[in-house]
Amino acid sequence: MKISLMLNGTKIEREIAPDLLLIDFVREEGCYSVKRGCETSGCGLCTVFLDEKPVLSCSVLAARADGHAVTTLEGLQKEAEEFGAFIADQGAEQCGFCNPGMIMNAIALFRENPDPTEEEMKEYLAGNLCRCSGYEGQLRGMKAFLEYKKQGGAV
């Protein structure tokens, strides 16, 4: 079947198999930030935006994205760099494999709720597993980032 969608702002038309998952579609399109960490929709590594909403791309058929906009971290490089720097300043990226999914979801949170409490951050990101960091460094990074934003983006 043929689908047509916007991927990171570029229009893509492609012939696909009906059972192709969105995660495999975007990786085939060169969006390697999108990672597979499980097969049971439980790790958050494959988070992408479908239109403006974060979804697990392992649980969405590529066909479902037909006519929609898909955004991966490749399309959010400026935001990734701005926020990611605060994770990096904690050393909390560690192996880095879960980072893109976590950062996608964090960006989604900050767009939805620019001033989340600690509990809200933990709740929102509960589905983003990380085996390296123990999550504390990610939390410190997020808090520092929010503080930076509150100061108007000045360090």
């Binding site: 930030s33 971290l73 990096a88 192996c95 880095g96 509960a126 390296c132 123990g134 460094g137």
Partner: protein
């Protein structure tokens, strides 16, 4: 110090947080054959026949291999220095399959769909054999996991395949029975640690291709490039000169990737077909056919006098290595050698062990490597002793713990030359408010808050075995290129090694380029495991940099036309003290590339006769719901002595990450099998690793000693940090409920049912 001890950003941090394609499957050639294996549904069986004609007919299938196609020389997948302690008990494919998940056939094809279809079309006839699934039934069973004649043990580790023994042994100091008999109090307990999965986010994966020289190139997510080269050479029966192994960024290891779990299959395919291939483990495969922590049952006796003087410790460990012996003989050693020496003034100790083969997946290396299991047992026994003696467990430890300067008979007779364990414990007690909170407070709403404590140690590399090396060269423009064979798997060792180099060479961290690990270009390193990199490789970096600095001064002297003794070099400029003439580092680097006959490059290698232990104290505060048994972790404090923290940020993240894994191990994580030997927790739905809602608040501090033999006083940190949660949480649960739970994980069910029985 300008660079060491600074919270410097990891050199690869921004690439990682922006999601650049830096991992194995991101940079695999696009034309790779897809490699998968058919796995045995039986725990113990002989393959009578494999009908593969229908599978081979599937369009796109390149090859189907069975036991008939592979070499019959046995080898081990354990990444260890040769001769490996782990027995040679593996084949690439074996007619005798020994656990549910053991590979029966390898299929390679154009894409996943055709390979999946071919796998379904393979018809295998099995002769099903009775299996051993309980570690207690293995030793001297009539059922043999490895009856084959070509099984072999390279080292004297007390192995005997005709008794299902992967290893056995005993060591002691003094007469433990006599001392225990003389003790006024003896606490006895048997503690059961189940297997755990490392569950790194990136599953096992390997890409293979032939290079223009016809050599097998292996890009793999591995901690041990040099050992993988040997393993593949053994498995394929080809010379090491024909194999190159290298790693890109690694999505977590934790010891899992100290075993060559995925490499042999695509390597075999590429070697046979000449075509590039890759194998990406699914999460399910990573759960059921990999290299988890050894299940161990640790029996402990601790003897003391009524005043709280601990006089003797006796440990017996029964370890389950599963179907193959990877890391079996070595992990078990740590269960005694890194638990007993926490107590410094023992009159006697004894440590005995058996490691048995059973028909479950092979165990392997997981952070803590046996020390975790032993420390859980010994520390819990000591907490039970404190209760029996009515002595505060912190006081009991302060009275008995190992101190700087002591000889540790159970730790290979080594002396502790750097030990701040006493400061760690006191600081942890202050941080958590031990005096006010111990043992518990009834909250009046069916909930009880309590605290628990444990201490831990580990090593820093394997003494007299591990090797670390570093090559450093001065390039144009005063840039240094550092090459290491240690594997940064997210730990940040590329950065910490650069920090050591920058400190030695008096330059900025940006001036140091780091590369590794690659068997063709990196200097030899046994690999990143056994908490070795900071201590062993770090010292190699220091040595190499010091020598390079001498060479730089010599070169400067010849450029300045003076004696080398007259040269003063501050990292940027070399000055002739007599004339005041100077040359810059840039000029020296440039001169090194024109008409120069003296190499501005140094390789240094390091090994250590000692393995200085890092120490730590951990304390947990929990709230137990007495009706449901639910445990909420409120607060965990950890105070660590890793010597000098080379990079406090990265050290802190190591501690927090290790604590989270230890918390998962203590409360949730449990590799379980069905009555037929099928692994039950084969996904993250069933195998629960902690989310950010489960870890409470982790608070980490450092109390540093200074280790003279380490780089700038550093010891290790990676492993010690996983060892305290299990005993500290067991203790906290006991303080809240009166239940001493002797089997991990401490689930809500165990607590609720235990309270009902009380």
């Amino acid at each position: 110090m300008k660079t060491v001890g600074q919270p410097i950003r990891k050199k690869d941090a921004m690439a990682l947080v922006t999601g650049q394609p830096v991992f194995t499957d991101d940079i695999a050639p696009k034309n790779c054959l897809i490699v998968k294996v058919l796995r045995s549904p039986h725990a113990n069986a002989m393959v009578r026949s494999v009908k593969k004609d229908l599978a081979e007919k599937v369009e796109g299938i390149e090859a189907v291999y069975t036991w008939e196609d592979v070499p019959d020389e046995r080898f081990t997948l354990a990444g260890q220095t040769y001769p490996e302690a782990s027995p040679y008990d593996r084949l690439i494919l074996d007619r005798h399959v020994r656990y549910v998940g053991d590979p029966v056939a390898i299929v390679a094809g154009r894409d996943e769909a055709c390979v999946d279809q071919a796998l379904k079309r393979l018809k295998v006839e099995y002769e099903i054999l009775p299996a051993i699934l309980d570690l207690h039934e293995a030793k001297d069973s009539e059922i043999l996991v490895h009856p084959e004649e070509n099984w072999k043990a390279l080292c004297k580790v007390g192995a005997d395949n005709k008794r299902n023994l992967c290893a056995s042994g005993e060591s002691h100091d003094g007469d433990v029975e006599a001392v225990l008999q003389d003790c006024e109090e003896v606490v006895e307990g048997t503690y059961h640690v189940k297997a755990n999965q490392q569950a790194m986010m990136e599953t096992f994966r390997t890409v293979c291709y032939l290079d223009p020289y016809g050599r097998l190139n292996v890009m793999s997510s591995t901690q041990i490039v040099f050992h993988v080269r040997r393993i593949l050479s053994n498995a394929l029966g080809i010379s090491k000169s024909r194999i190159r192994v290298f790693k890109p960024r690694i999505g977590g290891g934790f010891g899992a990737k100290q075993t060559s779990v995925s490499e042999i299959y695509p390597a075999f395919v590429t070697w046979k077909t000449g075509k590039p291939s890759k194998m990406i483990f699914t999460r399910e495969e990573s759960q059921i056919a990999s290299s988890p922590r050894h299940e161990m049952e640790v029996s402990v006796r601790v003897g003391a006098d009524r005043d709280g003087r601990i006089r003797a410790i006796d440990v017996y460990t029964l370890s389950n290595t599963g179907a193959y012996g990877e890391h079996g003989p070595t992990t078990v050693g740590l269960s005694g050698h890194k638990s007993i020496p926490l107590y410094g003034s023992l009159e006697a100790h004894r440590f005995r062990y058996d490691v048995v083969y059973t028909n479950v997946m092979s165990s392997g290396a997981y952070r803590g490597y046996g020390a975790t299991q032993g420390i859980y047992a010994v520390e819990t026994a000591v907490n039970e002793l404190a209760e029996r003696l009515h002595i505060d467990p912190v006081e009991l430890r302060l009275k008995n713990m190992v101190r700087e300067g002591q000889i540790m008979p159970a730790y290979y007779g080594e002396q502790t030359n750097s030990c701040a364990l006493d400061r760690c414990l006191k600081r942890a007690a202050d941080m958590i408010g031990w005096k006010e909170k111990y043992p518990c407070r009834d909250m009046g709403n069916g909930k009880v808050r309590s605290v628990g404590v444990a201490m831990a140690m580990q090593g820093s590399g394997i003494s007299n075995v591990d090797v670390g090396s570093a090559t450093i060269k001065l390039e144009e423009d005063g840039v240094y290129a550092l090459s290491i064979g240690a594997a940064d798997m997210g730990t940040g060792c590329d950065t910490t090694m650069a920090q050591v180099a920058a400190e030695c060479l008096d330059c900025s961290i940006e001036q140091i380029i780091v590369s590794g690990a690659d068997t063709d270009t990196s200097p030899y390193d046994s690999g990143s495991y056994a908490s070795s990199t900071a201590y062993i490789t770090g010292k190699a970096v220091e040595k190499a940099c010091r020598k390079l600095q001498e060479k730089i001064c010599e070169k400067a002297a010849s450029m300045l036309g003076c004696e080398v003794d007259a040269v003063e070099f501050d990292g940027h400029t070399a000055v002739d003290r007599t004339t005041g003439k100077q040359v810059t580092l840039k000029e020296i680097g440039t001169a090194g590339q024109s008409g120069n006959a003296r190499s501005l490059q140094v390789t240094e290698t390091n090994s250590s006769p000692v393995s200085p232990p890092p120490f730590m104290a951990g304390m947990a505060e929990i709230e137990v719901d007495k009706a449901t048994g639910h445990v909420e972790l409120l607060d965990y404090v950890a105070v660590v002595d890793c010597g000098t923290p080379l990079n406090p940020n990265l050290c802190r993240c190591q501690v927090e990450g290790g604590l989270a894994q230890g918390i998962g191990m203590a409360l949730y994580e449990d590799v379980r099998y069905s009555a037929r030997g099928q692994m039950l927790n084969n996904s993250f739905m069933q195998y629960k690793i902690p989310t950010r809602l489960d870890v409470g608040t982790l608070r980490v501090e450092f109390e540093s000693s200074y280790e003279e033999t380490g780089p700038f006083g550093a010891k290790s940190i990676g492993e010690v940090v996983i060892n305290t949660p299990a005993p500290a949480l067991t203790h906290a649960v006991a303080n809240a409920t009166g239940l001493w739970i002797h089997e991990l994980p401490i689930t809500s069910e165990k607590i609720a049912m235990g309270l009902l029985k009380k």
